[in-house]
Symmetry: C2
């Protein structure tokens, strides 16, 4: 499978138009973006060491390394482009765009959930930002725009879902005693790149007793007979992501593990079933937790249950509690065409953990499940 789906470039100018509406509502005069996913969403290109500015007149200015001007010109939709040589040049380019936009006072929106304090200092350097311009977090503007996906985005995410399935199959089929967790991750990642992924977010593979920890970053632990293995993959294809987690066992799982896996699957499927327009994030969380609690795992639940997914593999909507600490707003009832990853929490004992995760699109009457690899603990 080789993917290369063309995205009609008119979508970007429509998004910029919507963006300026939300900017007005939130009293922001200019956006200054450096998060690649936000820049991609509005222009068709997002890359490292670049920035995008958008003003209330729907004018889009991009600043890029001097090496990248032609490449960005081919890929992105914008009104102005400037090249810089280094950080000093970048700062001056930002200042020039403020001038060009006629903005010497008002408010510039910055990505508080992305910028480190040192990056913030650089973007608001007195040689970049006019003194009279105040700053404000613009995270919510982009989250609002990006949350409900357009038909083309759903199409791209379906492809990302297929690639996740291919990666999962390769990883699970490869499993044998003596492999390291890292090698298992490598099987999944290799297959995803073969199948058309341009990349992936960090893979998690944990085995045996390491399945009890919250973030199973692969190690050189060798899997042995009787080990259960937790595999969590996140391919990126055509700029969009998907998220899948499955469990598998080398040999025979214990009856306790089989039971927990069955209960978790029931919780996942019940929550997925409720993923229709109008449902609240809290209701989905309660549904998933409810099944686990009723089966006696109330003290074994850890981790936020659900997260939005799209260009980033974790994005808005987030459940209210989690959202608050991650600089996002608590989400309204979910609309149709919001993709979410369900199953980000797990059942954790002090000897093993069980978790399953799928990428699901909230539907008008029924959800669309984008990751379809079977849920078989025993192979």
């Amino acid at each position: 499978m080789r993917l290369n789906i063309d995205v009609d470039k008119s979508v970007f100018s429509k998004r910029v138009e919507k963006c300026t509406q939300v900017m007005k509502d939130q009293e922001i005069d200019v956006l200054l973006l450096t998060k690649p996913s936000n820049m991609y969403y509005l222009t068709g290109d997002g890359r490292l060491c670049a920035f995008t500015m958008v003003n209330s007149d729907k004018q889009v200015a991009v600043g890029v390394p001097q090496t990248d001007v032609e490449d960005v010109t081919e890929l992105a939709q914008f009104n102005h482009i400037s090249a810089f040589e280094d950080e000093v040049g970048m700062i001056h380019t930002i200042a020039d765009f403020f001038k060009q936009f006629g903005v010497s006072k008002g408010t510039v929106g910055l990505e508080h959930t992305f910028l480190t304090s040192s990056m913030m200092k650089m973007l608001t350097h007195p040689h970049a930002k006019p003194e009279g311009v105040t700053t404000k977090d613009c995270t919510d503007i982009l989250s609002k725009l990006r949350m409900i996906k357009e038909p083309i985005e759903i199409k791209l995410m379906k492809e990302a879902g297929k690639i996740a399935d291919i990666g999962m199959e390769a990883a699970i089929v490869s499993l044998k005693e003596g492999m390291t967790e890292s090698q298992i991750a490598g099987e999944g990642e290799y297959a995803m790149r073969q199948a058309g992924a341009e990349g992936f977010w960090r893979s998690y593979v944990a085995s045996g007793i390491r399945t009890r920890i919250a973030h199973g970053i692969p190690t050189n632990r060798k899997v042995k007979n009787g080990d259960i293995v937790m595999i969590d993959l996140h391919p990126i294809a055509n700029n969009y992501s998907s998220d899948i987690c499955r469990m598998a066992c080398i040999g025979e799982p214990t009856s306790e593990q089989v039971k927990a896996h069955e209960v978790y699957l029931e919780a996942l499927q019940k929550t997925t079933g409720k993923s229709v327009a109008g449902v609240g994030m809290v209701e989905l969380e309660k549904t998933l937790h409810g099944v686990l609690q009723n089966a006696g795992y109330a003290d074994n639940i850890f981790g936020p249950t659900i997260h939005g997914i799209g260009i980033n593999f974790e994005e808005a909507p987030l459940p209210p509690g989690h959202a608050f600490f991650h600089g996002e707003k608590a989400p309204p009832p979910l609309n149709e065409n919001i993709p979410i990853a369900i199953g980000n929490c797990g059942i954790y004992t002090n000897r093993w953990g069980i978790r399953l995760e799928d990428t699901v699109v909230v539907g008008s009457n029924q959800p669309q499940i984008l990751t379809k690899y079977p849920y078989t603990l025993k192979r």
Copy 2:
């Protein structure tokens, strides 16, 4: 090759002791760290969603997800450990440690080059940080400590260098017409995981005209006859990183490309040769740029020339200009046992780019080169 080099755990308490000295010099009473590499350096474990606090009495407190307590206890050196269920719990755990350390005023050091504004807000939430405690950037404390590597660290980085060579060989040997850039990256990554890498930082593969851009994130562009390919890999093994970049050609490179490759190699080798104790970063930069400028490429140079490397693949020391904007201090003359990656800038025309990079340890009399894969543009 399977690596699993044991690190004597006494190194961590010695580092904490040195750390408290630097804290005193910089008038910081408590460190509150969440950057995994900094936490690993001081305790032997660094992971997502966790924090480490260090006070001036060499007391180390760690806060971890409740699922991870036993795993962290096995891996890390600390005096106090607390578990939390979620972000609210994390905040309260931080408050508890401030109390336990008897710190209600003074200064807490935070990682300004790592924390986003929203993470900063969470860590300094009124329920976490006592009102009387002010905050200060502690980036430089950890950079100072981590810059000169201990013998065990050099040993681990040598292993990371070997893995980079194995990855590069696999990627270059695999090259054939019709492969995508992403698939080429996959060959290198797969081989590195096979050879003992627990993971890797983002791989770069750019081919043909895409070699002209500064950050060649792999795409589904298919390589064709006559394309040059830029491959940049960054394995992580035993928590340490290495960095290698090589060029290869599908078929025959042009004479222009061959010449630029020769010049770049000369620049790299001359700069590597000067990497001995007492040399300044600026002198190394000038050496590399000098060779390129003298060969007529003055207008084709882009990108910072050199960066430090260790647990992170980009860390202090950074050249002064670059350091300033990345929240780091300008480095003093380089000491023995500072590993650097040389060759982070390139020769860029509007049709192609050439870049080569090696991981090199500054030596007393001569440098140690950790990445040794041959520099052959023609295969």
